[in-house]
Symmetry: C2
């Protein structure tokens, strides 16, 4: 599986001129699958449904994609091949903040991708290009080169973990703390209870805790860089 996935993402396509021309293409298949996942959820991306959308037979898809699992990997990497959230700023802090918010926006627009990102996978060309580009920008505006990767990863990890409640549907903030609406249950969690009382709201209310956490991460990186000198 590991090697197969690797070849899939990084291997070269081959054609020698001869043979029936392809009506389908890997790109069209992946793009349509992403469209379905965005609109109806990853669960609704079945080979059958996908083939219907593309106006082809189910088994035709297998001429362009090894299987369902691999398709999902390709879908994920195709997202990363899109536009980069690279700020024009002249300092690394703004670049990283813009990056972190860009990651949040990407996963908010494509909620299904979060499960892929946190699953087992190898890095594909799209994602590699993404990460490489930020690191380049960061070093260009003064971040020490040895710190680029680790800084990006730290921000990425936070963003990845923190984006879930930003996504609508079950799992979003409101439903997540649904149990606090029951007074009897609320009493069992004295430290969580204040969340249900509007006046006593916790600092940096849930609404913008992504931004709060991101600033803390940036603070931490800044503190580290300063202390190194």
């Amino acid at each position: 599986m590991g090697q197969a996935e690797y070849d899939l993402l990084w291997g070269e396509p081959h054609r020698n001129g001869r043979g029936r021309p392809a009506a389908l293409s890997r790109e069209r298949i992946v793009a349509e699958a992403v469209a379905i996942a965005d609109a109806e959820g990853l669960q609704k991306v079945s080979m059958k449904h996908l083939a219907e959308r593309l106006g082809s037979g189910v088994m035709s898809l297998y001429r362009h994609v090894p299987g369902k699992d691999e398709l999902v990997v390709l879908m994920y990497d195709s997202l990363m091949a899109g536009p980069l959230p690279l700020a024009e700023a002249d300092n690394w802090r703004d670049v990283l903040r813009h990056w972190g918010l860009g990651v949040r926006d990407l996963f908010t627009a494509h909620p299904w991708a979060l499960g892929v990102a946190t699953g087992e996978r190898v890095m594909g060309p799209g994602e590699a290009g993404w990460v490489d580009a930020v690191i380049g920008r960061l070093t260009a505006v003064g971040m020490p080169a040895e710190l680029g990767l680790i800084a990006v990863l730290t921000v990425d990890c936070f963003a990845l973990g923190a984006v879930r409640p930003e996504i609508g549907g079950a799992g979003s903030e409101t439903e997540y703390f649904q149990f606090l609406t029951d007074p009897a249950i609320r009493a069992r969690y004295p430290n969580l209870a204040p969340l249900a009382e509007p006046g006593t709201a916790a600092e940096g209310s849930m609404e913008d805790y992504f931004d709060f956490g991101l600033e803390r991460v940036l603070d931490g990186l800044e503190h580290y860089i300063e202390s190194r000198q």
Copy 2:
């Protein structure tokens, strides 16, 4: 689905004495499912396989669990009902560090749970108890009460996002950067290339970047708390 999941996690079981006594129990089913997932992966947790392990018929399981999806939710919450990674320390920084490392260890021991954590879900009693307990400890050792939740969430989010490469198998660090072994491809990513050259290793090497990132997050929180006063 939202309401059903909620009732499942927070609703009271009911029995009125009459009727055939149950040979199976929700607890046994969930525990066995967790054992399978730990040993063979979540993918191998099928109702059939699970029933065989329990020595019962497949459909018997449905008397105790509404369905497969709900079973997974219960499996996840059962993890959180286990022992808490609460440090005995007398300062919030040590408590939060211990907490973050505990989260990492939990997901390393139960890799399948990461996908559940980042998926859509509502908070169950186990997880609520977890979070409530840390917040209590944090305020006990001096962290301002309004900051407890947001601090825990920030650390949690980082830990959740950063734990993936700590888990073995595909997706772990080595295979993740597999493409860098090809010189031709490496040339396309100048900023990532140093990763493949042993001598020029990036600072805070990949091995311990979880710890590195965690310290940065703690730094950031500390800086914030100091600046508030």
